[in-house]
Point group: D2
Chain length 254, copies 4
């Protein structure tokens, strides 16, 4: 078995650039909301979260990132994003997007403090990132479909005021549900990895043991090369002196 | 008559943030193209062009700007965009968006040098920014609908090779044709200006002459204030000392 | 007299791109602080403030904008910045930059709530934007020079804890005091406007009255053209059909 | 021995955010050049190159990336940068920054086609990234010091015209030579890794063999946690249900 998802030309591109654009595309198609000036909360700062955060900022949103991993949180902060626990972000967000691979990332304690008009979407693995059963239990009314793919719940606040909370596509993957999924020009790399890995499996079947293999580096590099070619981009090649230099230790600062 | 389109809370917001997002939304809905890594040519760097260029960069495109006005061209260059005549940009672009208010911005000489797969859309006033009659006359085949809203023409190059050129929505406004137009949260300001200006016209009808008036500054400012309030944003107010300072000339560097 | 500062090729470039870079250059030279991950508060969102805010975000800071004008505040919010009154921003900022043209923009009530290590700089007209006399009166100790150009004050908080607050260049223009002022490639336009305006004054002296004139549009445009040429940038020119179209009302959507 | 440079809290931060800012700081201090509107060529798109490219774009430059690795080249393109071989970039660049770890990245063939006024700096390992001996041999005159840290060479072009090429700090690390190196707030993480790794070496000396160890993951994570704390940033922690979910395979889309 080959772990195709771990190929660099897969997860670094499909997850980041594909998910980044198609997630916001799904949110916009479902709601026609203007991102400029909105507080957009991204839960999770892995490759997918990085893609969503970067594209949301690029569309004029003020992005807040939530994380459980200190290293990813630090990276988000250094990239210029506000980093907060979800308990705080829940009070501030206009739009929430979960991309964590975990469950209940947005849950009862968070629904209770949301602003009127909050929009929730998931672009992570499963439809359990937003705890919808607890939202349904909490809500005074809803789900009520207000646009195709958009369900509204009304949550009563502690002070007697109430907030309308909209959930896109029942918390399922918003880019697949409300948009067209990843564009062809990023899936081509993922599919090339799959096809070439299957070919490699067949050709190497005599030598392989029953285990999970990583995609061979040559396949990964060859996918990158073909893609650059397809984009009409040329790059540099090493001179002989440079190759020698890189394989030696003899030269330093003059 | 009141020139509502000239109100600051109209043209600075609707034209820039509204057109910026909705134009790319239209392009993506029509084609599902990934903007990351694409060369996107924006013709015109007025408020609309600024919006489109900024959002396209935010989605990962490499943006080229064409202009006829030196000042706008210089601003685009200082904003970090590559500025070129259309004759050059036509050879490099993957996606072209016209937002000029002029005609024939992309015309025969440009179609002839385009790359295979080029995508053309208009987000300016009329459907004459892209000279479609000359494209139809030039093309060996087409228009052929390849997706809803997308027509493909095949243009034969000088060297015998041919390029497929796709036009979205027959060159009509791409954000209205292929997306939902501006989001409500930017049109609200435009409509507020219209409603308040009509009210002002009626109330002031005794004093007004038959001419074109600009939107009264108080209306413009009041729309901005209401919008901030609606977004939950507070701002500072002048202290008495600051008001005095601003209306005097007596204080400078100590 | 000619109001050279109002020429487009002056205030749109010098104030925005010049001040944007040179202000942060001054802050970095004075303190060697890393902007990535810092909360940077910009007071004022005019051309100078836009420049500083945009460049600070580009260097990885999380930018907060304060304003007194609703329209400018709205623009800042739509550009993706957090907008707050200074009373709130004062609690959150790591770095503060005033570019308002007003006085006492940061004053006693703000100093009192600042975080330990806050850095203050002014890039607006005079050294009165930061109310230093009140900081000196409030401080338990200071000013103490901790680096060249940097004075530290210690402010005792309400809870008994104390915060060190650093002021760069005694609140004088930070880009002139701690850096080299605007780069030549933006001052060239300002000086060209001045020189050409003086020439125009002399040549037109018979026709001019004793009043303030705006820079003639031809001078402004010619400065932009020369600058583009100097940057090696070509732009489009109108075809005869386009010129006709722009001066008529006869053609619309087909 | 511990490979401290490979710790995530070192190379992901120091190399990217530290080098990104301090490299441009060095270029600006040495030359006072305005980055807005300039074509800035970054050779190498590793962590350092990513940092420099991102910050240069943030300061308004039009960034071109050169690479020898297809994967890095593709990432640069998807991040919105123009990717070209150095032979092309050399003709277009106003400013060149090498961050490759290789030698002769800019060499005779490149010097020959540069524009008048080109500025060269190195922020990679050694002073051999720019092939200065060949520049000196090629030049009709120079090096002539035109500002502190800046040497000008005059290169005669094929057509008889000549170009002035400026080299900063003799091609040595520009951030150390012409600026103050990395800011404290990024070196703190690198030094914390070093100190904690030395402590770990001493404490674990009985169990260790003579080999190169990676920094223990706990040290890396603890540095990230301490840094977040120092920045006043809180993050989420897993609930018990979330921990269970992450360690099981039983739940998927409902």
């Amino acid at each position: 078995m080959v772990a195709v998802n771990d190929a660099n030309t897969k997860h670094m591109f499909d997850n980041r650039y594909g998910t980044g654009q198609s997630t916001l595309d799904g949110v916009i198609r479902a709601t026609n909301v203007l991102l400029a000036g909105k507080v957009l909360v991204v839960a999770g700062y892995g490759y997918c979260g990085k893609g969503v955060a970067s594209r949301a900022r690029g569309l004029g949103a003020q992005v807040v990132v939530t994380e459980i991993d200190p290293l990813a949180a630090l990276e988000a902060a250094m990239d210029g994003f506000r980093v907060e626990p979800m308990a705080e972000a829940a009070r501030e967000g206009d739009i929430f997007i979960t991309v964590t691979g975990n469950r209940d990332v947005i849950r009862e304690e968070h629904f209770k403090v949301m602003k009127d008009g909050a929009i929730l979407a998931n672009s992570g693995h499963f439809d359990i990132e937003i705890d919808l059963p607890s939202l349904a239990a909490l809500a005074a009314s809803g789900p009520r479909q207000v646009r195709p793919m958009v369900d509204e719940y009304v949550v009563e606040g502690a002070g007697g005021d109430s907030a309308r909370v909209a959930v896109i596509a029942e918390g399922r993957l918003v880019n697949l549900s409300a948009a067209e999924g990843h564009p062809a020009s990023v899936m081509d790399m993922s599919f090339a990895n799959q096809a070439l890995s299957v070919e490699w499996l067949v050709k190497s079947r005599e030598q392989l043991k029953p285990q999970v293999y990583t995609v061979p580096a040559e396949i990964d590099a060859s996918v990158a090369k073909l893609k650059l070619e397809g984009m009409g981009i040329s790059i540099d090649t090493l001179t002989r002196e440079q190759e020698e230099y890189l394989s030696s230790w003899t030269v330093g600062t003059r």
